[in-house]
């Protein structure tokens, strides 16, 4: 009898330890911290605002956060090697007017226009990457300068006027949905997220990028071509910014030169809130997704909560700080427990 009790007690203790370990492991995931805050905020909005859970509102918010997440991915690529891309918005804007110009002036088919928009984005990113690796100048300075270059090309061409001839079929990406609730853009975002997850988790390229971000010197000594990694992530960052521009045109049904003008803060906030380190070497695809959703919930939520418009920025800043403090507290608590 005593033996049986001991065996049962031992099994229960082992089970408890396993659950405890799993929970700790999960809690150590930065993305789940942000995810938790996101869920809490969504619940608060659902309880205290009218119409939050309507299919129309879910659809519109999904479109917004899908775009913001892609913009966040663009910055995330560069953050993983410990660098920055200040020109993400300018690249998005240039890709957008390229799309608009090709439709309006050339009557090009959709597939060619999409390729051109992505190509322009990738080319701009490659320009950044090449300049950085060839000159050794900090990415902050290079992309600060290239922001003006890309904006200059944009405004020099358009003089600030939008291209309004965008075919209805192209607008399907931005306006279409499944079951009238899940936007097509959501599926595009999920596809991009899955590809990036696969790249960083299961490819040599992804591992090498993280290694360069973690410790570039050690990575080079290990035989990794750091310059190629840096060039590649900047190119990919540009490609994703270009995708953002293309999707924005589809969403708006017109190519406005000012697309991307508000992307700078957004492109940093989404991945950083989601747990991507500014120092490089670490990222979380799921974290970026949650970061984008949270930013959308906060921005939309403040409108739905009827917050005084003059105090909106104050509330936005406070809520963002709260979100990261909660996540930081979680990290400190769990790491503290890990040493017990």
């Amino acid at each position: 009898m005593v033996g049986e009790h001991s065996a049962v007690a031992h099994e229960q203790s082992g089970l408890r330890k396993a659950v405890d370990r799993t929970l700790k492991g999960l809690m150590l995931q930065s993305s789940l911290g942000v995810g938790g805050v996101t869920v809490i905020f969504a619940v608060v909005l659902a309880l205290f605002t009218q119409g939050f859970m309507t299919s129309g509102n879910v659809f519109n918010m999904s479109r917004t956060f899908s775009l913001w997440i892609i913009v966040g991915f663009s910055q995330m690529m560069v953050l993983t090697v410990g660098q920055m891309n200040l020109s993400a918005g300018a690249i998005g804007g240039l890709a957008a007017v390229t799309v608009g110009g090709m439709f309006q002036n050339l009557g090009s088919p959709d597939w060619l226009v999409i390729l051109a928009g992505l190509g322009v984005g990738a080319a701009c990113g490659a320009f950044n990457g090449l300049f950085i690796v060839l000159t050794g100048i900090d990415a902050f300075i290079v992309t600060l300068a290239s922001t003006s270059i890309f904006l200059g090309i944009n405004y020099g061409w358009t003089h600030g006027m939008p291209f309004s001839t965008v075919p209805a079929a192209f607008q399907f990406m931005g306006a279409g949905s499944v079951l009238n609730t899940i936007p097509i853009m959501f599926f595009i975002m999920v596809f991009v997220a899955l590809v990036l997850y696969f790249v960083f988790r299961h490819t040599v390229f992804g591992r090498r990028v993280l290694a360069v971000g973690g410790n570039q010197e050690a990575a080079v000594l290990s035989g990794i071509n750091a310059k190629w990694m840096i060039f590649s992530v900047h190119t990919l960052s540009g490609l994703l910014a270009g995708l953002g521009g293309v999707l924005f045109v589809s969403r708006l049904g017109a190519a406005h030169p000012s697309i991307g003008s508000d992307w700078l803060l957004l492109s940093f906030a989404v991945p950083v809130i989601g747990g991507t380190s500014l120092k490089g070497g670490d990222t979380s695809i799921l974290g970026v997704v949650f970061g984008g959703v949270l930013m959308t919930l906060i921005t939309t939520g403040l409108v739905l909560l009827n917050v005084d418009p003059f105090l909106e920025q104050l509330f936005l800043g406070v809520l963002l700080l709260l979100a990261v403090i909660v996540d930081r507290a979680r990290t400190v608590y769990v790491r503290g427990r890990a040493f017990e």
């Binding site: 913001w68 600030g160 406005h256 739905l304 418009p309």
Partner: protein, 344 residues
Amino acid sequence: MNKKKFLVGLLAFVFVAAGVFAGGAGEKVWAPGTKASTPDKFAAIGVIHPYFYPMEGAVKDYASNTATQAIYQATKDFDMGEENTIIDGLTPQGYNGFALWPGHPYSVNVTITALKKAGIPVILIAGQAKLPTDAQLCIATDVAASAAEGARQVIKAMGDKGNFVDILGMLSDPNTLIRKAAIEKVISEHPNVKLLDTISDTDAFEAATSKIPPFFAARWDEIDGAQTTAYVAAVVTSQYLTERKNDRVKFVGIDEDQKVLDAIRDGYILGTMTQSPYAQAYLGLTGLHLLRQGYTVKPGKYFIDSGYFLLDKSKLDSWQDIIKANAQQMAKIFVADYFNPPSK
């Protein structure tokens, strides 16, 4: 210090100083009421934004029609600092008249006063400065009257009852606050109309798309009418109401983006309030020329309303002609109504 370097530096300073003084010397500074001794060389300054786009054409037309040197410059953002940078770059090149968009209603007066002291007249276009100002004239939309008219049209279409949503541009733009006050005043005059909400800072696409469609979607059944006085918000709201195939909510926008015009044509929105940037720029340059010829602004005259009207479905094919006709009418009465001829 190295003696050679010191001498080179001193010589360089002397040359630069001489150039600065020589450039300024000999040219009589223009004063109001006097005829300028140098040819006109004007600049109109706007913002890289679709609203200001017609001004570039207006400047080219003015330069061509009058054989005057005139250029159009634009800031990237709605920013007085950027505008000052452009002005600081143009004045040493001899530009002697500016038709300016006021980057900031208070700060612009510092710039205008400095230009006046340098003998350079300024006419404000597309916006107002805080009074008192040394600007000779202001040619702009009466934004309060335009916003109020738009609100009245929406409320009329709503049947004088229901919930109204006010969608504003950037709160940092003084025109926004003027429009907000005007709309709220109109609503207060209709006891059966309630201001459901005010959505602000929507004059950028990212902010507009994250605020306007979700709000409309969440509270659709409560909204009877809406108005925006911001270009981007007008585009985004028109797009949303078109997607929704709206046949109930009465909406008036601003300016004439193609998306807005298409939504009017398809019946999804009521209309849009027009403005007249072309006339503002053209008449602004005309006014500068008159001032430099010795004309003076009549006492009590300062603000010239460049006009607005509700562009609805009935005016879709004629709105550009209406704007042109209004501008031509303004040009006819411009000199007689606002200027005294030079004293002999």
